[in-house]
């Protein structure tokens, strides 16, 4: 189970120069970081590279981390910024529309439903689905990270699952 206290102390340790703390920080944040990046980039190879950049950036910017910050939210905001910057670069560097580039038949990938989810769900919905369903985190825990109430997470999760279900069934209920 995710332990916010330990993560806070690990962040504090990292801030004080104990790089070994990154072990724990990575272990408890990597999945959510990846979800955040993937939802924006939608390409696995590039997401992996960005994930590396994110943790290097965490190390580089650790002195800016404040005790009162939610550590996961802070790391996720770095991930989001990195992903968005990369997304803009990708858009500039190619004449091909990035969405077009990513357009492929979802059932040809190893994770067709997740890929579909990354396309049709917004950031919060995607992270909520991945965290609550795939990682089986509690809604309270996810709400804390995303700065949402537990009922807000429940609502968004239901909306997201309905969207996915409708899309898979060919419907447009929530679109």
């Amino acid at each position: 189970m995710f332990d916010n206290t330990k993560l806070k102390y690990a962040m504090r340790d990292l801030k004080k120069g104990n790089n070994n703390a990154m072990d724990y920080i990575y272990d408890v944040t990597n999945r959510m970081v990846y979800y955040q990046i993937y939802q924006i980039i939608k390409r696995r190879d590039i997401s992996e590279d960005i994930m590396q950049d994110v943790y290097m950036k965490v190390l580089k910017n650790i002195l800016k981390y404040q005790e009162q910050d939610q550590p996961k939210s802070w790391i996720l905001s770095i991930a989001r910024n990195e992903a968005l910057n990369q997304y803009k670069r990708m858009k500039r560097e190619t004449v091909v529309d990035i969405d077009t580039l990513n357009q492929k038949s979802y059932d040809q990938t190893a994770s067709p439903i997740i890929d579909l989810a990354s396309h049709i769900l917004d950031e919060d919905e995607f992270i909520i689905v991945m965290s609550c369903v795939v990682d089986q985190k509690t809604r309270k825990e996810v709400g804390k990270i995303l700065n949402l109430s537990t009922s807000g997470v429940t609502f968004k999760l239901n909306v997201a699952l309905d969207k996915l279900k409708n899309q898979l069934e060919g419907g447009t209920k929530h679109d």
Binding site: T5, R12, Y26, Y35, M56, V134, K165
Partner: protein, 441 residues
């Protein structure tokens, strides 16, 4: 498609969705050499497995019994003192955590005392010495590896002392955090306090330490300084005792000289009246410089006899003066330690009082005074000494003893037991003026 099948499929896809690139990422980060003990912090399950292995290998009997975890209690006023307790909450050992704490505990033997009594004693002493005032916060915290025991002892202390002390309350979040970290809640609070003020420690380092070691970090405990303080205090007190012994010798010598002078006068009065009168003038000028010398030898002789009859009283008065003066020195020294927070550098420059028999004698006042006036004079002498010796930056403790003595002084001054002549004397009026000036400044 049902929601359930959708969820199942998401779970299946999600199993291998996130790539494992931990090694790649960590290899890019410069790392400290890993301490094996960290595994115990970050991997409680592994730690438990290791513990289980040790239990099987060496036998459960070697492990400490759960009820034998010692309780540590800290008292923080600003003097800080730490007690170790047995299972019956009796003090097994205690120590000062700072120099003020060393001053506070120095005259006690609290081993074997119930913790409530030990705390009571030191709290009362803190008030007496001036460390604590009505507005002071007296913090007490009990620590035990077992959260339930820790809470029980804290609650017992709270019940005994009620609002006389402050016990840090542990909220549910702290309880949850401590539980998840497998440490007691107040140890967690202690670690948090240290981290808030000490940048050079990490949580990882602190969580491995026991409460005793954490207290040392929190209080910047330096055993050498405390030992040095004990030596200096002992040396200074020995100096005061030596000074007292020298004064007693001076008193006895003074009385012997006075007795010899009286005997000489008596002898001359019987043998040579002119020589007596001349000797009396010298005697009077020496011992009663402000007195008018009577013309008639018979009156002079009467005064000599009167003085002789009060000589033993006077000796006793002087001896009491020495004892009283010695107590005053000790009080002043304690006030100095309190006001300077036992600063070793300031202590090194502290000189012994420079008081001789001439500062005590006041034979003329004594002869003219009744018993209550003698007591009044003795108080006046002490007050005068305190006012004259008052440092410019006198602290709370010093001012407190001056104020206390002044109240005592005024009790006599305002009573009918002291003659108006003595009240109006230059000596007494100067003391009052000096005190008022001190208050105004």
């Amino acid at each position: 498609m049902t929601k359930k099948s959708l969820i199942d499929q998401l779970k299946t896809e999600g199993k291998h969705f996130v790539p494992d690139i931990k090694d790649t990422i960590l290899s890019n980060i410069p790392r400290q050499e890993k301490v094996h003990k960290h595994i115990l912090i970050w991997q409680p399950k592994l730690a438990m497995a290791l513990m289980l292995l040790i239990m099987i290998t060496f036998g459960i009997s070697l492990l400490p019994k759960s009820e034998s975890y010692p309780t540590v209690v800290t008292l923080n006023i600003n003097p800080s003192v730490e007690f170790s307790l047995d299972q019956n909450n009796q003090v097994t050992s205690y120590r000062a955590l700072n120099l003020d704490g060393a001053v506070l505990i120095e005259s006690y033997d609290l081993v074997g005392s119930d913790i409530n009594q030990a705390l009571d004693t030191l709290i009362n002493k803190a008030y007496e010495l001036g460390y604590a005032t009505d507005t002071s916060t007296i913090e007490v915290a009990a620590y035990n590896q077992r959260t339930s025991t820790e809470e029980k002892v804290n609650q017992a202390l709270k019940a005994y002392f009620t609002n006389r002390i402050t016990i840090s309350e542990v909220d549910q979040d702290t309880l949850d955090e401590a539980k998840s970290l497998n440490i007691s809640p107040r140890k967690l609070l202690l670690i948090q306090q240290i981290l808030a003020t000490h940048d050079d420690y990490t949580f990882d380092q602190l969580v491995k330490l026991d409460v005793i070691a954490l207290n040392e970090i929190k209080m910047a405990y330096i055993a050498n300084e405390i030992d040095l303080l004990k030596d200096k205090v002992t040396a200074y007190r020995a100096g005061l005792e030596n000074k007292k012994a020298l004064l007693e010798v001076e008193v006895n010598t003074y009385i012997q000289t006075l007795t010899a002078d009286i005997n000489n006068l008596k002898s001359l009065y019987e043998t040579d009246m002119i020589a007596f009168s001349l000797a009396y003038q010298t005697f009077s000028t020496t011992y009663f410089p402000d007195a008018t010398i009577p013309i008639l030898p018979a009156v002079q002789y009467q005064r000599v006899l009167n003085l002789e009859s009060r000589l033993s009283d006077y000796q006793a008065y002087l001896q009491a003066q020495v004892s009283s003066m010695y107590q005053l020195w000790l009080t002043k020294f304690n006030a100095h330690l309190v006001d300077t927070h036992a600063d070793l550098d300031i202590l090194a420059t502290l000189e012994l009082p420079n008081v001789g028999i001439q500062g005590l004698a006041k034979l003329a006042s004594f002869v003219d005074a009744n018993i209550k006036e003698q007591v009044f004079l003795e108080i006046a002498d002490r007050l005068n000494t305190l006012l004259n010796d008052m440092p410019n930056d006198a602290g709370h403790a010093y001012k407190r003893i001056v104020d206390t003595l002044y109240v005592e002084f005024m009790l006599y001054y305002e009573s009918d037991d002291v003659s108006q002549t003595l009240k109006d004397s230059t000596y007494i009026q100067t003391i009052i003026t000096n005190y008022q000036n001190t208050k105004e400044n």
